[in-house]
Amino acid sequence: MTRWAMVADLRRCVGCQTCTAACKQKNGTPPGVQWRRVLDLEAGQYPEVKRVFMPVGCMHCDDPPCMAVCPSTATRKRADGIVTVDPALCIGCAYCAVACPYEARAKIDGIATKCTFCVERVDYGTASGLTPGVDPDATPACVNSCIASALHFGDADDPASNISRLLAENQHFRLHEDLGTGPGFYYLWDKSP
């Protein structure tokens, strides 16, 4: 099987928003809609304070809460892990936006939208013998654009893939793992001991 997933290396991310801009441009999202963005967070109190940059977006969950609440079956999950929205079926009820614990959805012209992992590139790549996450034409725009090489994309089920190697070599976590959503988005924060 294939499980497309994304990895963000928090040691490398500088919060520059190049991924945000590349995503907006490639996907033509309107002003105010950001399928990919980088949070600028603080923890602690002056002077013991840390500032962290965290790329976020749709986590392409194993068990997406957005899909469970979708009354029109517009939101679906592919076998390769990518969560999709069929605009022809979406009725714009926004239940999905409310259900998503990652605030990853936005309505455009009455239709729910979100990060697609640039699915058409992935599909084009796999059909053309390219490797998503390695060949730029088969790789999400945010990953291609990342100037810190903090974002990575690949097949988490392939132990030889780029991201499987990163996950094996580094300590990582996923957001809100306690909710049981099974996010397909991993954050690296240090080398494995």
Binding site: D9, R11, R12, V14, G15, C16, Q17, T18, T20, A21, A22, K24, Q25, K26, P31, G32, Q34, R37, V38, L39, D40, E42, G44, Q45, Y46, P47, V49, K50, R51, V52, F53, P136, A141, N144, S145, C146, I147, A148, S149, A150
Partner: protein, 880 residues
């Protein structure tokens, strides 16, 4: 769909390489140039700014036709009444003015050029102005010294002293090898460009420990191992204390004594008057048998103007001995009271630096064994300019010299040269100067050569010996003088006059310089301003003619890439890259090269213009591809010739690929040796020493400059003359700005906050403030929506998140929304970037102020290099 290779050079940290997707003649998407990944030090990527280029191209408010002002009254509140005109009319108006100027002389009654030109930061506009430099070269004297930030709000002291000490216009860590980096305000993750971010991310992952020393927790601080919130403008005290620990507390043998003794001027004997003891016959400095100590010697001591101060049996102490005594008072305990960093922390940092220095180790680079010293100190804006800049640069270079980490693998490296010649060639610029040190093209201070008749209005040649006198020197003098002195020129200089014609391109001094309200008032007096305009903005609001040059994705130019260049562009390749029209110019926008050719033709300068192109003004000597000098060539013909010459240069003459080939491939390179990143081997080969720690030359030059000025009745530079010290002492640098409160009629206790600024990667240098998408993504980074205030301090003052506040000096005030953060000192406020727009479309609606209207433009806040700093004391209160 096709992909068009091109480059982005919107900021000084470029150029970077990209491709543009074009569908049906429309640019739709910017992507990295993956084909360049193997040669570019940032993986062929481009930063967020480049993604704004599509919106820039199709900006609804672009100036798309030449425009003429119809309202003769100029002022911020006057509507210029711009109306569209034809290119013929615009060029006739400009060339008419230019011909008239030529007919009555290129210089005015004060001896200043009648034509002036201002371009934006760091020389980036030159990568967009096509062949205009050839027109400027053909014209003759031009005043490039009306600043918009350069020379004052840049890394000014680093530029000047960096070139003096290590041929570095800017200084960078050797990031791929550095293991321990102390970063005093250097915001490399925001201003280091793609190469900076890429190299530092790699370094962090491999284990680089970076300590960020800065009053606020910047983007760079966020990505650092440790943040030390230092009190503003006290970095010199912190660095002096580090040096104190190394020199006065640690065992001497832990320093790189071999390096200090053989490769620096540390063992030179200093005489009783503070100048080197010299051999009476050769007048060469006497070098002691060891690094430390003193001795009696038959010698002569020579002071300013070749005066013999003493001769005979003279006692001298080594420069290093002088240094030890000089640093003795600057203990961590002393510094702690100044910088608000605990003494034990300072001492720990000094020891970590020393522990990481690997003194005695070597590394092999391309088969050559070189010293390996993986420790570095980088300095940021406001640290490296204005009062205290000299001291910080000196201490940083000293700390490198103490452990031998100067221009060797892992240490601090110069990037390129802009004052020394040949331009951009660090190694070729190394020549033997006096006293076994590198030569430096100081402006002369001896009585026979110094002149009180400057060539341009900012008087860099008369006032700043370190600014040298090359093509970049005009922008590295006190560029605010050109503006200030319009309201009264100080004693001894010819009255500063208005230029009769001022060209403006990719710069906006009306919002980007100091004291912008007053600056605008002066700008309104300029009689004829020609602005190459993308949209309307605050500076071209005062223009007489607006000219729409074809944009970044619409025009043609070949530039050099690779080698080593600021800020972290260290390549293993060098060559050329082409910027080409991905799409047709919109409206009536014209390629800058065609505009320059038309101006040359209409002003009777065509032959000189073509000759300048042939001589290499566009970056390559054309040689056998030279253009006929009596013809007006179109843009493609000119760049085809440049492409062929560049191709020939790269291939040793075996190829001469023309424009068609370059349009297809976008770039071509050849290897650039890694060993060329390091200057130490070049100095060693020539038997030259680094000029550290003792600044005998600067002390002499300062004394001579003082004499010349006083001989001409010029006493208004005396405060600056005091900066010329052989061993610079700590002065109360923060006090300079506290004094400014009193001087402008305020009570110090009523202005308790330090207002600072920091670069924003999304905007810095880009001239892209009007792009909606850039604004949208920039707002994800804290501080783009208002003034950053310490959360605890805000609570104390009753200020809530998002509340409007007033930031004031005794003379001016601005309003901003409060952005509450923990990562800033309670006594510090931060306004990112340079906003405060009132004419630029989109940006004028940001309601985002700038510190620039609050910073006084004054002689007292100008240091000896002619530089000021982005810092001012302010009050903070809820807005009414």
């Amino acid at each position: 769909m096709r992909r068009v290779p091109t480059y982005c050079y919107q900021c000084v940290a470029g150029p970077d390489l990209l491709t543009v997707k074009v569908s049906d003649g429309v640019a739709t998407e910017v992507e990295p140039n993956f084909a360049a990944a193997a040669v570019h030090p940032g993986g062929g990527k481009v930063c967020v700014k480049a993604y704004g280029l599509v919106q820039k191209t199709y900006h609804p408010d672009r100036v798309l036709a030449p425009m003429k002002r119809t309202n003769p009254k100029k002022g911020k509140d006057e509507d210029p009444g711009f109306v569209p005109i034809s290119w013929d009319e615009a060029l006739d108006l400009i060339s008419g003015k230019l011909r008239n100027i030529r007919s009555h002389g290129l210089l005015d009654e004060s001896g200043y050029p009648r034509v002036a030109a201002s371009f934006g930061g760091g020389g980036t506009p030159q990568s967009y102005m096509g062949s205009f430099p050839a027109f400027l070269a053909a014209w003759g004297p031009i005043d490039f010294g009306f600043g918009s930030g350069q020379g004052v709000k840049c890394y000014h002291s680093e530029h000047l002293y960096g070139e003096l000490w290590q041929r570095g216009f800017t200084i960078s860590p050797d990031t791929p090898l550095t293991n321990y980096l102390i970063s005093c305000g250097a915001n490399v993750e925001a201003s280091g460009g793609v190469a900076g971010v890429w190299r530092h991310a790699n370094a962090r992952e491999r284990g680089l420990r970076r300590v960020q020393v800065e009053p606020h927790l910047s983007v760079t601080g966020a990505c650092s191992a440790e943040w030390l919130p230092i009190k503003p403008k006290t970095d010199a005290a912190f660095l002096y204390a580090l040096a104190h620990v190394l020199v006065c507390e640690e065992k001497r043998e832990r320093l790189d004594l071999e390096f200090l003794f053989r490769h620096t001027s540390a063992p030179y004997l200093v005489g009783p008057h503070g100048f080197y003891l010299r051999d009476p016959k050769t007048r060469e400095p006497l070098i002691h048998a060891s690094l430390e100590g003193s001795s009696l010697a038959t010698a002569v001591e020579i002071g300013p103007d070749d005066e013999v101060l003493a001769q005979g049996e003279l006692e001298g102490a080594t420069a290093f001995t002088k240094l030890v005594a000089h640093l003795a008072p600057y203990s961590p305990e002393w510094a702690a009271g100044i910088c608000d960093i605990r003494a034990e922390t300072i001492r720990r940092i000094a020891r970590e630096y020393l522990d990481a220095a690997c003194v005695g180790q070597s590394i092999e680079i391309e088969g050559q064994a070189l010293p390996y010293r993986p420790v570095a100190i980088s300095l940021g804006k406001t640290v490296t300019n204005g009062w205290g800049g000299y001291e910080c640069c000196w201490a940083r270079t000293l700390l490198a010299a103490l452990v031998g980490a100067l221009e060797v693998p892992g240490g601090i490296l110069g990037t390129t040269v802009r004052l020394n010649r040949p331009m951009s060639q660090r190694h070729a610029s190394v020549a033997r100067g006096p006293d076994g040190l590198m030569a430096f093209p100081f402006n002369k201070t001896d009585a026979a050569h110094w002149s009180a008749r400057p060539n341009i209005r900012n008087a860099y040649r008369s006032m700043v010996p370190l600014a040298a006198d090359g093509p970049w020197s005009q922008a590295l003098g006190p560029t605010h003088f050109s503006w200030m002195f319009l309201d009264g020129t100080p004693e001894g200089l010819p009255p500063v006059t208005l230029p009769e014609l001022w060209f403006v391109y990719r710069t906006n001094p009306a919002i980007s310089f100091w004291d912008t309200e007053k600056l605008g008032e002066r700008m309104a007096r300029f009689p004829f301003v020609v602005a190459f305009a993308f949209t309307r903005d605050e500076t071209n609001h005062f223009a007489d003619i607006l000219l729409p040059d074809a944009g970044d994705l619409e025009s043609l130019q070949l530039i050099r890439i690779g080698g080593s260049k600021y800020i972290e562009q260290f390549w293993d390749h060098e060559g050329f890259a082409l910027r080409q029209p991905a799409v047709a110019p919109r409206g009536e926008a014209r390629d800058f090269t065609d505009i320059a050719t038309a101006l040359a033709e209409r002003t009777g300068l065509l032959e000189k213009y073509n000759a300048a192109i042939n001589k290499g003004t566009l970056g390559v000597v054309l040689g056998k591809h030279s253009l006929r000098e009596d013809l007006a060539h179109d843009c493609e013909t000119i760049w085809d010739a440049v492409c062929k010459a560049a191709s020939a240069e790269l291939t040793g003459g075996t190829q001469a690929q023309g424009l068609k080939w370059w349009k297809e491939h976008g770039l071509a390179t050849k290897p650039f040796p890694r060993t060329a990143w390091y200057l130490f081997p070049t100095l060693k080969a020539q038997g030259l020493r680094f000029e550290m720690p003792y600044q005998e030359r600067l002390a002499r030059i300062g004394a001579e400059l003082g004499r010349r000025l006083h001989e001409h009745g010029m006493y208004w530079w005396d405060k600056q003359l005091a900066e010329y010290q052989a061993l610079p002492a700590w002065k109360d640098f923060p006090g300079e700005w506290e004094w400014a409160v009193s001087a402008t009629g305020g009570k110090r206790e009523e202005y308790p906050f330090w207002l600072l600024t920091a670069r924003s990667m999304q905007y810095a240098w880009g001239g892209n403030v009007g792009m909606q998408m850039i604004k949208e993504v920039a707002d994800n980074v804290a501080g783009h929506g208002g003034v950053i205030v310490n959360r605890g301090k805000a609570k104390e003052l009753g200020i809530d998140e998002g509340q409007w506040v007033t930031i004031a000096t005794p003379k001016a005030q601005v309003k901003a929304k409060a952005v509450l953060r923990e990562g800033i000192r309670p006594d510090t406020l931060l306004l990112l970037g340079q906003f405060g727009h009132w004419a630029t479309p989109v940006a004028k609606d940001f309601a985002m102020p700038s510190m620039n209207p609050l910073v006084p433009m004054s002689l007292e806040l100008t240091d000896a290099t002619g530089s000021g700093a982005d810092i001012v004391k302010v009050s903070l209160g809820k807005a009414a």
